[in-house]
């Protein structure tokens, strides 16, 4: 069990402070795999809540608290003439205490697979009721911290945990470096671009691409963790920049449980923020001073952008076919996985054959990762809204396979040809689940992972083979 204090400063009288990302960071930092976080407010005018971080809704909550316990409504607690031992700076805050009574001062959050278990719309808030003040919460993390063991997955496989103690420590050190570098970079940018990006970065994400950069940067003779972290953070910024534009194109309202930049701040801001971090990431990579790395990432970015155009064009022929799917996915997702692997290896001055093998590993892994992502769209336990890909007419391999199925295919194709309301999306989801499409996609993803691992067989990996194997398997055997 680990005990900590979470300290923060509030800036308003009533304020919903979203502490989700800080809690996620604690989980990551401590290596808690399965267990619980216990939270306790250490103040009588700070409450805790789990709800949606939607600015207008937060205003509704504030209005509700004001209606239920209005400020200045003649609280006996505020009648200092009748109280004893009053501090000189005793605030008039009867309303705040009453409001705290309506909330809770305690919360237990579940942790699975090294992350908080939260629904898509859920965020964890410390609710300031008498600010602004310096505040703190008591936090205890309890459960299974080790990495040995196994877990079940929606693909039905067992994910072997093969990290040694040293590797586990190294992973956390790598993650800390990347998070530090991301924080540092976002701190120095102008607010209009930095704040939306900070919200997106702090909301989480798997950080798989930076992880691949850092791992492969340990393969060649030139191993410099700080340079690798700088490259890894730049790749993550680049990835997030593409997501910001994607969300505008897909008309997505939420990502990682938060409103998208386009939804929260408008399309114009989303375009500008995406462009800024596209440029900044390419600059940061250029400043590293390795021309091969710069070219590798630039080629990947070009492939991503070309595939986005194909992806949108193919929505006219929804659900598409296997060949078109692979073409889009190899550009849209796998290209940056491949570039992450290759660029890390290039940075470490690994041998050309190792760079090429890792690039192919990344390409296959990225494709398998996307297939697993497609499957999650049909999983009710993922925490994400089921059927989002169907609703947005995004290419999805389970849907392609189900549409080819003799039994359910005709009905699926008929439904997809029409307007997709809740009932239609629900029916298509049920039909896909009733077919063997998800099994086929799972098999295909696993066989791609096997192919990815074969790429590593002939390469000297300086002891990183088990980690790369574990990472590949966990990238497809996942629940979110």
């Amino acid at each position: 069990m680990i005990a900590k204090r979470l300290r923060f400063k509030t800036s308003g009288a009533t304020q919903f402070v979203d502490i989700t990302s800080q809690l996620r960071d604690e989980v990551r930092r401590t290596g808690l795999r399965f267990g619980r976080i216990y939270l306790q407010s250490l103040h009588t005018t700070v409450g805790l809540a789990v709800n949606e971080n939607e600015p207008l809704l937060l205003r509704d909550f504030q209005s509700l608290l004001e209606r239920l316990a209005p400020s200045g409504a003649g609280y006996q607690h505020d009648d200092f003439a009748r109280r004893f031992d009053i501090a000189l700076d005793e605030p008039v805050n009867g309303h705040a205490h009453c409001r705290q009574l309506l909330l809770t001062g305690f919360a237990t959050l579940l942790v699975e697979e090294g992350d908080l278990v939260l629904g898509q719309w859920q965020s964890v808030f410390a609710v300031e009721l008498d600010g602004p003040r310096q505040r703190q919460l008591a936090v205890q993390l309890d459960g299974e911290f080790e990495t040995e063991g196994s877990k079940s997955s929606p693909l039905g496989g067992e994910v072997a945990r093969r990290e040694s103690g040293d590797e586990h420590q190294s992973k956390h050190a790598d993650q800390a470096l990347v998070e530090l570098e991301l924080t540092r970079q976002l701190m120095i940018d102008p607010d209009p671009v930095a704040l939306p990006m900070r919200r997106l970065v702090e909301a989480g994400g798997k950080r798989l691409r930076p992880r691949l950069v850092q791992l492969t940067a340990r393969i060649g003779p030139r191993q410099e963790p700080l340079r690798a972290a700088a490259l890894a953070a730049a790749v993550e910024l680049l990835h997030n920049a593409t997501l910001i534009h994607d969300d505008y194109v897909d008309e997505s309202t939420h990502r990682r449980g938060r409103p998208t930049v386009a939804a929260a701040e408008g399309a114009e801001r989303a375009i500008a923020v995406g462009d800024f971090y596209f440029a900044k990431a390419t600059r940061l990579i250029a400043e590293i001073g390795n021309g091969d790395v710069t070219s590798t990432v630039a080629e990947a970015l070009e492939a991503i952008c070309a595939s986005q155009i194909d992806d949108v064009a193919l929505r006219g022929a929804f659900p598409g076919d296997h060949e078109s799917y692979l073409k889009v996915v190899r550009g849209k997702t796998a290209a940056l996985f491949a570039a992450s692997c290759a660029s890390g290896a290039l940075l470490s001055e690994a041998k050309p054959e190792a760079v090429e093998a890792l690039k192919r590993y990344g390409d296959l892994l990225g494709t398998a990762f996307q297939m697993a992502d497609d499957m999650i769209d049909f999983s009710p336990s993922s925490g994400k809204p089921v059927g989002l890909d169907i609703r947005q007419r995004v290419l999805s391999l389970p849907l392609i396979y189900a549409a080819e199925d003799k039994a359910v295919g005709p009905e699926i194709r008929r439904l997809l040809a029409g307007t997709l309301g809740d009932a239609e999306v629900g029916r298509v989801t049920d039909l896909v689940r009733s077919s063997d499409a998800l099994d086929r996609v799972g098999d295909e993803a696993r066989s791609l992972v096997e192919a990815a691992l074969r790429e590593l067989e002939a390469v000297e990996l300086d002891g990183l083979r088990p980690t790369l194997i574990g990472l590949a398997k966990s990238a497809v055997d996942r629940q979110s």
Binding site: D189, P190, P192, V193, H245, Y248, V249, G266, A267, E268, R269, A270, I271, A272, V273, G274, D275, F276, F278, A279, K280, T282, R283, A286, E287, G289, G291, T294, S295, V297, A298, E299, L301, E302, I304, C305, A306, Q308, I309, V312
Partner: protein, 129 residues
């Protein structure tokens, strides 16, 4: 169709119609700014600058947001330019180009009016020598 340097044709794949739709004029407007670079690099650098200008225009940066298809085409222009610069330009020029886009997009995000795109990109070409 206006004449292209052979290298230009190869770099216009998937950007159909842009050359005729003003990219050629934009490209020519940058040729003076690249004369001090190696001869082989000149068309690529001028094209990179022209693609950035065209890409930002397609996206509607600093103005009304472009529809999805135009935004994606703009993104591809920027990515193509980025790859051309990575393959052709010195580190200092790569950084100068990136900083120009950072300045333009930060200004757009804040709702302000900054220097014109061309002025910034020509400045980048001059400072990156």
């Amino acid at each position: 169709m206006r004449a292209q340097a052979p290298v230009i044709g190869r770099e216009l794949e998937r950007l159909d119609g842009l050359w005729e739709d003003g990219l050629s004029d934009t490209y020519r407007s940058y040729l003076d700014a690249v004369v001090s670079y190696e001869e082989e690099a000149q068309p690529k650098l001028a094209l990179a600058a022209a693609l950035i200008e065209a890409g930002l225009r397609l996206q509607g940066l600093g103005g009304r947001a472009a529809p999805a298809a135009a935004l994606l085409m703009g993104d591809l222009c920027l990515a193509r330019a980025s790859r051309l610069i990575a393959d052709t330009a010195s580190q200092s020029l790569q950084v100068a180009f990136a900083r120009a886009i950072e300045e333009l997009s930060a200004t757009a995000a804040s709702g302000g009016t900054g220097k014109p795109v061309r002025e910034l990109l020509v400045g980048a070409l001059e400072s990156g020598r």
